[in-house]
């Protein structure tokens, strides 16, 4: 119980404390302390969960199960590395006079509010509170995206605010519909949106209403995840935000929004067992995966390149969850974790590159291997990981998703094309087509991505010598992430594996306790 309170209260306290302080050093110290507290609280909760199983708290207001803990690990882990990275990043911006200490204290206030809303979203047992918290993340991050107050970042912020608010309004309507169907079955307004209750009474919910509700919820939270065609804010926001914020948006916020979809999916799967939700996820997944691959080919700005790669990876995860089963869900969950680490690593190194070269254009960055070896290594590792090279962790998770895709079993072997045309297709053929499609898109991504990244790392450094990089604190999070992404490709810690296995059981509708 106490760790849960720490999780919820400490970012709030740190946020309001930051507003009062002006000394950058103290601000960073408070930030790091908070992140360590969060990490500690999270590990206590996880240990307790693995020993005692899932539990409800505060009058069923908060629910903790394996899925909660797994997402909490991503949030606190990437939150910690981002905080570590932001120290040297903002010190440099302060030294160059781009920002004032007052702006920095505002930054930390918003950053902590961002953390708070994400943690609330993860812990909440109530679909309504989940919605409120996810909308809260939009509000907290708008000014973070607009942090440098350039003309372009203003545009990015406005787009983000309007698109995500509208998207999330759809999710609210979906939540209202869900409420509509459950309040009738339950008769109790207070508990009608509790996820645990919804699953318990799934048999009494009306499938039509729940289906319609899920459609709204999927499009709503899908906007936040950045699926095609609701993705248009993603590249603008990620490229304009300060590097630690981009890392948090791409690594963590997408994961949390995905968590919201997954929670709703467990309810829908219990009501409509025909795989309705899964099929929708597969469609969105392939669309985002394919479209993002095309945009990756034509990018000239490395931060936008990373943004499109995020859309692509969210597509892969959606395919994994959509296919479901043990392998699919395991791969997709593991993919969320790996993507969070690899993408934050990529944005940290992109932030360093931006600071050193003063440009976000790929063509202006060359020969990093000679001038900035550590950043180059980090960027290369992130790049290789993001295209799914073995032995890095994303290979393992992408491979699981593909193998799940290859072994799908369908209910009927007929496929209806339109109203009158029905064809017989065996499972193997269908899976073969999907797998070939998946691999083709992967090849496009591989080519587009590696072509750009290698160009930035090798070749000759530009004529006018760029500042060589000094070893600094900003290298610590880079090295931490590189090690994590490398090690997890070959060996997953036992407790993490156990946690993911339990989370998969929740996603596949096996409930205990």
């Amino acid at each position: 119980m106490i760790p849960i309170i720490i999780l919820l209260i400490s970012p709030l306290v740190a946020g309001f404390l930051s507003l009062r302080l002006r000394s950058p050093r103290i601000l960073h110290a408070i930030n790091l302390t908070t992140m360590l507290l969060l990490g500690g609280a999270q590990s206590i909760i996880t240990t307790r969960l693995l020993h005692e199983g899932p539990f409800l708290l505060f009058n069923d207001f908060i629910a903790v199960d394996a899925l909660t803990c797994f997402i909490l690990i991503i949030v606190s882990g990437v939150g910690f590395t981002s905080s570590l990275y932001s120290w040297s990043y903002f010190d440099q911006h302060l030294a160059e006079g781009n920002i004032t200490p007052k702006r920095l204290s505002r930054y930390f206030f918003l950053f902590h509010m961002f953390m708070f809303t994400m943690i609330l979203a993860i812990l909440a047992n109530n679909l309504g509170i989940l919605w409120v918290a996810i909308e809260g993340t939009t509000l907290a991050t708008t000014f973070l995206i607009n942090f440098f107050r350039r003309k372009s970042s203003l545009e990015a912020g406005w787009k983000y605010l309007i698109l995500c608010s509208v998207g999330i309004a759809l999710a609210l309507f979906g939540t209202v519909l869900m409420f509509l169907s459950s309040v009738r079955a339950l008769g109790d307004v207070g508990a009608a949106l509790n996820i645990s209750e919804l699953i318990r009474i799934a048999g009494q919910l009306d499938p039509h209403v729940v289906k319609l509700a899920f459609l709204f919820i999927l499009i709503g939270y899908g906007t936040k995840i950045g699926w095609f065609p609701m993705h248009t804010w993603v590249p603008d926001a990620y490229s304009e935000a300060p590097a630690p914020v981009s890392a948090m948006l791409a690594g963590v916020l997408e994961t949390v929004a995905f968590y919201a979809v997954l929670r709703c999916k467990t309810v829908v799967d219990a009501v409509v067992p025909s795989g309705y939700a899964g099929h929708l996820l597969i469609v969105f997944g392939f669309l985002s995966f394919g479209v993002a691959a095309v945009f990756i080919l034509v990018q000239r700005d490395f931060k936008r390149l990373l943004a499109y790669s995020s859309i692509e990876h969210m597509g892969i995860a959606a395919i994994g969850f959509g296919v479901g089963g043990f392998v699919g869900c395991f791969g997709a969950l593991f993919h969320l974790l790996n993507h969070a680490i690899a993408k934050s690593l990529a944005f940290f190194s992109a932030g360093n590159i931006h600071l050193l070269f003063g440009s976000r254009e790929i063509d202006k960055v060359q020969g990093m291997a000679r001038t900035q070896p550590v950043t180059a290594l980090a960027f290369l590792t992130a790049g290789l990981a993001l295209v799914g090279m073995p032995p890095l962790a994303l290979f393992v998770s992408e491979f699981s998703v593909v193998s799940a895709l290859a072994s799908q079993v369908y209910k009927s072997d007929t496929l209806r094309l339109g109203r009158f045309l029905t064809v017989m297709v065996s499972d193997d053929i269908r899976n073969l087509v999907l797998v070939i499609l998946f691999l083709l898109i992967s090849v496009v991504v591989f080519g587009g991505f590696m072509f750009r990244v290698t160009g930035m790392i090798w070749r000759d450094p530009p004529q006018k010598a760029v500042r060589a990089e000094k070893s600094s604190l900003s290298h610590v999070p880079l090295i931490l992430s590189i090690v994590a992404i490398g090690v997890m490709g070959m060996w997953i810690p036992g407790s993490l594996k156990e946690l993911i296995t339990q989370a998969v059981a929740i996603l596949n509708g096996v409930h205990h306790g």
Partner: protein, 220 residues
């Protein structure tokens, strides 16, 4: 959940009034009139909520009604009016779609909403028969307003109309969401309105305009 026929008729009438004000917003070019109409719509929403609270005997909906009056009919319109005053823009000069055509499209959206909610209506567990359809219609028209107008302020009004529509759906079709959820939603809407207000100022300062069609710096 006993409620009289007259009661549900009254709720229906109030929901219709909300829809009518939505149409009025679509037909207005003057920004301050749009904001006034939004305030009026929020008053109707509060009346609807109070009626539902009275009919169902669920007392916390009164709280929601009160909050609607305070936040959506008083505070947010005040914020928006101050933004309009400072921006010195009173009229929407260029419309993406002219007003008669907009009204026709909105009529079509109402029909769409009615047909989409038909299967749910037949299940027969709504408080009133048409309120869900009306709320969906208001949501769709709100979205349409956001698409068809160019000034940042009217886009905000469109967004708030969408919120009102959802809220109508939650109170008139179901029986009001749990109080804590409603409080959270109100808080979010209020903060969103504040942030959008600040943003419009910055847009004005930077782009010298609140015409969102000028925001085209970033494209593929």
């Amino acid at each position: 959940m006993a409620h009289s026929d007259i009661g549900s008729q009254l709720v229906n009438i109030c929901s219709m009034l909300l829809l009518v004000t939505t149409f009025a917003i679509v037909s207005q070019r003057r920004l301050s009139a749009c904001v006034d109409l939004f305030a009026l719509q929020s008053v109707f929403l509060a009346v609807t909520a109070a009626l539902v609270a009275f009919l169902t005997g669920i007392h916390h909906i009164y709280v929601a009604a009160l909050l609607t009056i305070v936040i959506k009919a008083i505070i947010i319109p005040l914020i928006l009016k101050r933004v309009i005053e400072r921006l010195n823009v009173t009229r929407e000069l260029v419309l993406n779609i002219n007003i008669p055509a907009s009204l026709l499209i909105c009529g079509g959206l109402v029909i769409l909403a009615l047909s989409v909610t038909q299967p749910i209506k037949e299940l027969g567990f709504l408080l009133t028969k048409d309120s869900l359809a009306i709320s969906l219609a208001i949501i769709l028209i709100g979205f349409f307003t956001m698409i068809s107008r160019r000034k940042a302020v009217t886009q905000v009004v469109g967004f708030l109309v969408v919120e009102n529509g959802i809220f109508l759906g939650a109170t008139a079709a179901a029986y009001g969401m749990p109080l804590i959820v409603e409080l959270g939603v109100f808080f979010d809407v209020l903060v969103a309105a504040l942030i959008i207000g600040i943003f419009t100022h910055r847009l004005q300062d930077t782009f010298d305009s609140v015409d969102v069609s000028k925001l085209t710096g970033m494209k593929e």
